[in-house]
């Protein structure tokens, strides 16, 4: 997908200062293809502001955004080739699922029929082939997320940004959708940045972590490194919530296993 030599993986190198009113956020990071980066932090830390600057929806205050060697910081969003999956997905409500996925292909000059044909493999890859003629209001949250993701990927972006990808989904389906998302992200060949405040997202989706607090980077590393040596109280809490939920999950798993061992034929006698 990227124009660089096969030897060097596609990279996104950002050194950004973003401003929103009186608030300023500064973040520098380096993302390579195949190692998704999670931008984590408490509410109001400036994560989404940084993401909006990367996407071009907010003008950069200072700095640069190098995508495969070209500085895209001064380019309009449509010229950056950076795909975005928004928190509430922002699927086009007036277009069918198929036309949503075909949108980016059409905008590059393909005719409607050709764009639809080119979108078909994407629909199939994201288990949306049966929903091609549906409208977004007929979809579940998980399906809408798949439409948003396949729509972004079908436009063949050089990099991908995801803003709180799980936040607008029902809690019950999050684990399943997250596993699905992790699989799709592994198949994407460009640098990926995921904004989240969820430890579960970080652990499942990201290889690298950058922690943003009150507009500044407070820690960076892998999830394992953060767990070993959390640098701030926020990171400590983040790591703990993850450990707690893991312990809770494994305790439940153990109980289920024990129940099966104790009562190997649970339906007997019912």
């Amino acid at each position: 997908m990227s124009g660089t030599a096969a030897s060097a993986p596609a990279a996104l190198i950002a050194d950004i200062t973003a401003r929103r009113g009186a608030f300023e956020a500064t973040a520098a990071f380096h993302v390579v293809a195949g190692r998704p980066l999670a931008l984590v932090g408490p509410n109001g830390a400036g994560k989404t502001t940084v993401l909006n600057v990367l996407a071009g929806h907010l003008a950069i205050e200072r700095g640069s955004i190098l995508l495969d060697g070209r500085d895209v910081a001064g380019l309009a969003p449509e010229a950056r080739r950076i795909g975005v999956v928004f928190q509430d997905f922002l699927v086009f409500p007036h277009l069918t699922v198929a036309d949503n996925v075909a949108y980016g292909i059409r905008m590059r000059g393909a005719r409607r029929a050709a764009a639809r044909a080119a979108a078909l493999p994407w629909l199939e890859r994201f288990d949306l082939a049966d929903f091609g003629d549906r409208y977004p209001h007929e979809l579940s949250g998980g399906q809408a997320q798949r439409v948003a993701l396949s729509r972004a990927l079908a436009a063949e972006p050089d990099a991908l940004l995801l803003d709180e990808p799980m936040a607008s989904l029902d809690v019950e389906v999050r684990d399943e959708v997250r596993a699905d998302l992790a699989r799709h992200l592994r198949e994407f060949s460009g640098p990926t940045v995921i904004v989240t405040h969820s430890a579960a997202d970080v652990a499942a989706l990201a290889s690298e972590v950058v922690v943003l607090e009150a507009g500044a980077v407070t820690q960076r590393g892998t999830w394992a490194q953060l767990r070993e040596a959390p640098a701030t109280p926020y990171v400590t809490r983040l790591v703990q919530t993850r450990e707690n939920s893991r312990r809770e999950n494994s305790r439940r798993e153990n109980e289920r296993t024990q129940a099966r061992v104790v009562n190997p034929q649970p339906h007997q006698g019912e």
Binding site: H94, R106, M107
Partner: protein, 293 residues
């Protein structure tokens, strides 16, 4: 204004009552809806709106209707009315959609220019149409500020079919602008960002996302605009006069006929009424102002 006890009582009762207390009496009173006084006044208002229309239907010279409707003057006025109202509606769409976009964006402006812009768009709604017609005459008339320049170029606007179209566009524009602006504000503008991230240029975003999202508002605005243009009288007769076949639209023809042949006037009015009802049916509930579905 009746500051009667019942409405205020229904308003204050639930507020004072503890939320979980099973006070069934005041709650059911609240649920019963408006008091009798309100129903009676509402019925009066409705009668004022609807009864005159029945009067037209009852007084219509049904036996002579076929003859009156195919009379050359009727057909001429009807043709002129439909033609000018269609052109005015198209003009309102072409000029009004960009104005609605600017108006919707103006929420980010400082207070003074924002209010001035909104006031300017509202002018035709509050200005008596005759005053509007006079104002157009003073601007575009032979001795008008712009009219003098146009006259040099050999262009005369007043008392032409073009003047009818300008007068109708003037009075109908706010209906289109406000309908489209409401739709623009109701739509989630962030989908435009999504479109841009997928490679759509600003013009492509406008064409493929913005316009489809506001299409219901545009349709509603266009229908209201057409209805207003079709019924235009005051500005038209002041600015364009009443020349048969050139500027004598249906409302003007109906008014003139009422001076000597009432049944002819009623026949023309019925034609306007039928078109208006058709417009109303075309609008349906979800497009009417104040109703969002």
């Amino acid at each position: 204004m009746p500051d009667s006890a019942p409405p205020s009582a229904t308003r204050s009762a639930p507020r004072n009552a503890p939320r979980r207390a099973p006070q069934s009496a005041p709650r059911s009173a609240h649920r019963r809806g408006p008091a009798v006084v309100v129903w009676v006044i509402a019925a009066l208002a409705l009668a004022l709106l609807v009864l005159p229309l029945f009067a037209i239907l009852l007084s219509a010279p049904w036996a002579r209707m076929p003859v009156l409707l195919v009379a050359p003057e009727t057909l001429q006025a009807l043709g002129l009315s439909v033609l000018t109202a269609v052109i005015s509606t198209v003009l309102c769409l072409v000029l009004g959609i960009p104005l609605a976009v600017v108006l919707a964006r103006s929420v980010a402006w400082p207070v003074v220019p924002r209010r001035l812009l909104r006031a300017a768009v509202t002018i035709p709604l509050v200005l008596p149409p005759v005053v509007g017609g006079l104002a157009l005459l003073l601007l575009l008339g032979r001795n008008g500020i712009l009219g003098r320049l146009l006259a040099v170029a050999g262009i005369t606007i007043p008392f032409t079919t073009g003047a009818v179209v300008i007068a109708q566009t003037f009075v109908a524009m706010p209906f289109l602008v406000f309908a489209v602006e409401g739709a623009l504000r109701g739509a989630d503008r962030r989908v435009e960002l999504a479109a841009a991230s997928l490679g759509a240029s600003p013009i492509q975003v406008f064409r493929t996302v913005t316009i489809p999202l506001v299409a219901p508002g545009v349709a509603a605005g266009a229908v209201l605009c057409f209805a207003r243009a079709l019924g235009e009288f005051g500005a038209t007769i002041t600015f364009a006069g009443s020349y048969p076949g050139v500027t004598r639209t249906l409302p003007i023809a109906s008014y003139l006929a009422s001076q000597n042949d009432l049944s002819q006037s009623i026949a023309l009015a019925l034609v306007l009424l039928v078109v208006s009802v058709a417009v109303l049916l075309g609008l349906r509930d979800r497009w009417l102002p104040g109703v969002r579905g």
